[in-house]
C-alpha cells in the first residue's frame, strides 16, 4: 500500500521532470545545444502563471494557455537574440551564453519581484482527494498525470505525424540537407523553442500546484536535475526524456522513502552516474560514430 502511494508520488515528480526534460531534449536534438537557460524558462512559466491567476484573474485552463504561449514566445525570443548569432561559432560559446541567459532570468526576476515566495491563489484548482483503501490520490495529482499524458501524446503526434515534426527530425538528422529541401531551419528552430518553452511553462504551473513555494531560483535545481534526466534517457530522444524524467522521479522518491530524505540527491545522482558510465550515451541514445 505504502509502495503504491510512493509510486504515485514518484509518478508525479517524474511527470514534472519529464515535461522539463523534453525541452532540453528537443533543443538538443535540433541544435546540439545544451540550453542551460531552460530551467529558468520553467521558472518563468510558473511566475507568468501566478501573474495570470492573480492579476488577470483567469481560471486554470486559460492561465495555463496564456503562460504556455507567453513563455514559449519568450523562449523563441531568447533563441533569436542570444543563440542565433552564435549558431556558427564554437558550440561552447553558445552553451556559455545559455548559462548567462539563465543567470539573467533568475536574478532579474529576483530583482524585479523581491524575495517573497509565490504561490497560486487558494481555490485556483479544486483540491480534494479520493480514497481507495489506504491510498489517497488528490485532484492535483490526477491533473498532473492527465495533463502530462495529454501534452506528451500531443508532442509525440506532432513530432511523428506532421510535416513540422518531420522537419524537426530531419534537422537533427542532417542540418545541411534540410535547407536544400526548401525548409527554413530558422522556423523549425523557433518552433522547437516554442514547444520546449510551453512544455516547461506547463511544468512550472503544475509544479506550483504540487509544491506551492515558487521563488526565482526554483528553476536552478529542478532544471539541472531535469537536464540530467534527459541525458540519462538519451538526450535528443523524446522517449528518452520521458523515461529519464520518470526514472529520476521514482529514484528520488524511493531513496527518500527507504533512507532519509536528505539522501535522495546523493542516491539519485550516484545511480545516474552509474547508468552513464555503463551506457555513456544514455538509455535511448545512439552513439555518434566519429571518423578520423
Amino acid at each position: 500500500m505504502v509502495f503504491i502511494q510512493q509510486f504515485l508520488n514518484g509518478l508525479q515528480l517524474g511527470s514534472l521532470y519529464a515535461l522539463i526534460a523534453l525541452g532540453y531534449s528537443l533543443v538538443y536534438g535540433v541544435l546540439l545545444l545544451i540550453n542551460f537557460a531552460h530551467g529558468d524558462v520553467f521558472m518563468l512559466g510558473a511566475f507568468i502563471g501566478v501573474f495570470g491567476a492573480f492579476t488577470l484573474g483567469l481560471p486554470f485552463v486559460p492561465t495555463l494557455l496564456v503562460s504556455m504561449l507567453l513563455t514559449g514566445s519568450i523562449a523563441v525570443l531568447i533563441e533569436r537574440v542570444a543563440y542565433k548569432p552564435l549558431r556558427h561559432a564554437s558550440r561552447l560559446s553558445a552553451v556559455i551564453t545559455a548559462l548567462g541567459v539563465g543567470l539573467i532570468l533568475e536574478n532579474g526576476m529576483l530583482a524585479l519581484t523581491g524575495a517573497n515566495p509565490r504561490s497560486f491563489p487558494r481555490g485556483f484548482v479544486e483540491t480534494s482527494s479520493y480514497r481507495l483503501g489506504t491510498i489517497s490520490i488528490g485532484t492535483i495529482e490526477i491533473l498532473i498525470f492527465a495533463l502530462t499524458a495529454l501534452l506528451l501524446t500531443g508532442l509525440y503526434l506532432l513530432v511523428q505525424h506532421t510535416k513540422w515534426g518531420m522537419a524537426m527530425r530531419a534537422i537533427s538528422y542532417d542540418k545541411f540537407a534540410l535547407p536544400l529541401m526548401g525548409v527554413s531551419p530558422d522556423r523549425i528552430i523557433s518552433l522547437t523553442f516554442l514547444l520546449g518553452g510551453s512544455l516547461a511553462a506547463a511544468g512550472g504551473i503544475l509544479w506550483g500546484l504540487a509544491y506551492p513555494v515558487l521563488n526565482p531560483y526554483m528553476g536552478l535545481r529542478v532544471g539541472w536535475k531535469a537536464f540530467i534526466a534527459a541525458v540519462v534517457g538519451g538526450i535528443g530522444d523524446i522517449r528518452g526524456a520521458v523515461v529519464g524524467g520518470l526514472l529520476l522521479g521514482f529514484v528520488e522518491i524511493f531513496a527518500a522513502h527507504f533512507f532519509a530524505s536528505s539522501y535522495r540527491d546523493l542516491i539519485a545522482f550516484a545511480l545516474l552516474l552509474i547508468i552513464l558510465v555503463v551506457r555513456p550515451t544514455g538509455i535511448f541514445g545512439v552513439a555518434r560514430r566519429q571518423k578520423v
Partner: protein
C-alpha cells in the same frame, strides 16, 4: 595640390609611427621596470594617498581603484516594486498595473538622479587613479627602461625572474597594507587564478567540458579545514587539537607545516575524487562527460550535506584563519609555473592532441587514458588546494558556497580569458574578481550585469579576450632584451632614412 596631399600623407604616417613606437616601447619595456613604477605608485599611495584623495574631493583613498565608490551611488536602487504588484506573493493589490507603473517611474527617477553624483565620483577616482597609479607606472616604467635593460642583459634570467617576483610581492603587500579588504580581495584573486588555470587545463587545453569544478574545490576545502581543525587547533567542533606539538614548534613554522600538510592532503583528496570523472572520461566524451561532472558536483554537495559530523548543511565554523596573502601568492605562483611547464612539455602536447582529435592522438602513440587521468587529477589537485586556501580565508565553509554558481564563475573566468591561455586566465581572474567585488553595492543586480557582460563577450568575441594566445610580456630574458634593442635601433635607422627622403 599633389604636393599637399603627399605632405598630409607623410604627417599621417608620422603620427601613426609615433603612436606605434609608443605602443612598441610600452610592450617591449621589461616587466621589471613597470614593477619599479608600481613600487613607486603604491609607495606614493601609502604616504600621500589620503591627501591626494582629499585633493580630488574624495573622503578617503578608494579601496579598489574607486570602482566601488562609483557604483555605491547606485546602491539605493530597488527594482523589486516593478513586478511584485503584478506577480503578488499573497493577494492581488487593487491597482496592480498602476502600482507597477509608478514603481517603474520611481526607479527611473532614482536612477537618473544617481547619475550625476556617480559621474562626479567617476571623475574623482579617475583623477586619483591617474595621479597615483597610471602616471608613476608609465613614467617610471619608461624612464627605468634603459638601465633596467642594461642590467637584465647582464644578469642570469633566473635571477631577474626572482627579482621580479619578489618586487611583485612587495608591491602587493604595500598595496594590501592599506586595508584588510584589499588583502581579502588579493587572496580571492589568487584563489581564482588557481581555479581558472586548473579548469583551463581541462576545458581549454584538453577540450573537455567540465561544469563541476566546484566539487573538487569543495573536497579540498572540507578536507583541509577538517585536518587543520582536528589536528592542529582547539575548537568547538573537534575539541582539543590532536597534535598540539606541531603548532608549538619554534619560529612559528608549526602553523606553516600544518597548513601546507592540510592543503596538500586536501588537494590529494580532490585528485582522488576526480577519478570518478577521469575514469568515465575514457568512454564518455563531450556533453555526456559534462553531465558526469555535473552529477559528481551534486553527489559531493549532497554527501557533505549529510555529514553532520562536519556541520552538514549548516557549514563548518571555526576554521583557523591561516590563509595569508603570502601563502596564496606562493601557491598561485607554483600553480602557474607547474601548469605552464605541463602544457609546454611533450606530455602537454598530448593533452592538446586530445583536444584536437582523440582518436588521432591515440594513433599517434599518445597514451590518451594516462594523459586524461593525469590532467584530471592534476587539475583537481589544484582546485583542491584553491579550496583549502579559500576555507582558511573566511573561517567558515558551507556546502552552498560550492554550488553551480561557483562552477559557473570559474567557467566564466576561463572563457573570459580564452581557452588555452595561461596569461589570459590570469588577466581574466584578476579582472573578474575585481568586477565581482566592484559590483557588490548593486546587490542582486550584480548577477544580471555579469552574465550580460558575458553574453556580449560571447557575441562579439567568442574566443575570449586572448583566444589561445599568450600575452607577450618582456620578462627580461637576455635574448629578448637584445632583440628589442636591435628592433629599436632599426626603427631609429628607419626614421633617419625617412627623414632624408621627406627632406
Amino acid at each position: 595640390m599633389a604636393s599637399t596631399t603627399t605632405q598630409t600623407q607623410v604627417t599621417g604616417v608620422r603620427r601613426i609611427r609615433v603612436i606605434d613606437r609608443l605602443a612598441v616601447q610600452l610592450a617591449e619595456t621589461p616587466v621589471l621596470s613597470y614593477l619599479l613604477g608600481a613600487l613607486v605608485a603604491v609607495g606614493l599611495e601609502a604616504y600621500f594617498g589620503y591627501y591626494i584623495a582629499r585633493l580630488v574631493g574624495l573622503r578617503r583613498a578608494p579601496v579598489l581603484f574607486g570602482s566601488i565608490a562609483v557604483l555605491e551611488n547606485f546602491g539605493n536602487l530597488d527594482l523589486s516594486g516593478i513586478l511584485s504588484p503584478l506577480i503578488p506573493a499573497s493577494s492581488a493589490p487593487a491597482e496592480p498595473w498602476a502600482m507597477s507603473g509608478r514603481a517603474l517611474i520611481n526607479v527611473l527617477r532614482v536612477f537618473i538622479s544617481d547619475i550625476p553624483p556617480a559621474l562626479l565620483t567617476l571623475l574623482q577616482v579617475l583623477a586619483y587613479d591617474i595621479i597615483i597609479f597610471v602616471l608613476p607606472i608609465l613614467v617610471v616604467g619608461l624612464l627605468a627602461r634603459r638601465p633596467v635593460r642594461w642590467v637584465v642583459t647582464r644578469v642570469p634570467f633566473l635571477l631577474t625572474m626572482l627579482l621580479q617576483l619578489v618586487l611583485l610581492y612587495i608591491v602587493i603587500r604595500i598595496w594590501g597594507s592599506l586595508s584588510d579588504y584589499r588583502n581579502l580581495v588579493l587572496m580571492f584573486i589568487g584563489i581564482n587564478v588557481i581555479l581558472t588555470i586548473s579548469l583551463n587545463l581541462i576545458n581549454g587545453y584538453m577540450g573537455e567540458f567540465s561544469v563541476g569544478h566546484a566539487a573538487f574545490m569543495a573536497v579540498g576545502a572540507y578536507v583541509s579545514a577538517v585536518l587543520t581543525m582536528w589536528l592542529f587547533t582547539n575548537n568547538a567542533v573537534f575539541g582539543e587539537a590532536l597534535l598540539p606539538w606541531v603548532t608549538s614548534l619554534p619560529f612559528g613554522i608549526g602553523n606553516s607545516i600544518g597548513f601546507i600538510f592540510a592543503l596538500l592532503v586536501g588537494g590529494l583528496a580532490a585528485a582522488l575524487v576526480s577519478l570518478l570523472v577521469a575514469i568515465p572520461s575514457f568512454r564518455t566524451r563531450g556533453d555526456y562527460l559534462a553531465i558526469v561532472t555535473l552529477a559528481l558536483l551534486f553527489i559531493v554537495l549532497s554527501f557533505i550535506n549529510n555529514l553532520n559530523a562536519i556541520g552538514g548543511a549548516r557549514g563548518l565554523n571555526g576554521v583557523p584563519l591561516w590563509s595569508t596573502v603570502t601563502w596564496v601568492y606562493v601557491f598561485t605562483l607554483l600553480a602557474l609555473f607547474t601548469v605552464r611547464n605541463l602544457v609546454n612539455s611533450t606530455f602537454g602536447k598530448g593533452i592538446i592532441a586530445i583536444r584536437e582529435d582523440e582518436i588521432a592522438a591515440n594513433l599517434m602513440s599518445v597514451n590518451t587514458k594516462r594523459v586524461k587521468l593525469v590532467a584530471f587529477m592534476y587539475s583537481s589537485f589544484l582546485a583542491g588546494i584553491a579550496g583549502g586556501l579559500f576555507a582558511h580565508v573566511l573561517a567558515y565553509v558551507n556546502p552552498g558556497t560550492f554550488g553551480i554558481l561557483k562552477s559557473t564563475e570559474v567557467l566564466v573566468m576561463v572563457y573570459l580569458g580564452g581557452m588555452g591561455s595561461i596569461t589570459g586566465s590570469v588577466v581574466a581572474a584578476v579582472l573578474f574578481t575585481i568586477l565581482l567585488e566592484a559590483l557588490r553595492p548593486l546587490g542582486v543586480l550584480k548577477w544580471v550585469i555579469i552574465p550580460l557582460i558575458l553574453i556580449l563577450l560571447m557575441l562579439f568575441r567568442p574566443q575570449g579576450l586572448f583566444g589561445n594566445r599568450e600575452i607577450n610580456l618582456n620578462w627580461g630574458s637576455g635574448r629578448r632584451a637584445k632583440k628589442d634593442m636591435d628592433y629599436e635601433a632599426s626603427l631609429m635607422e628607419k626614421d633617419a632614412s625617412d627623414a632624408i627622403v621627406t627632406d
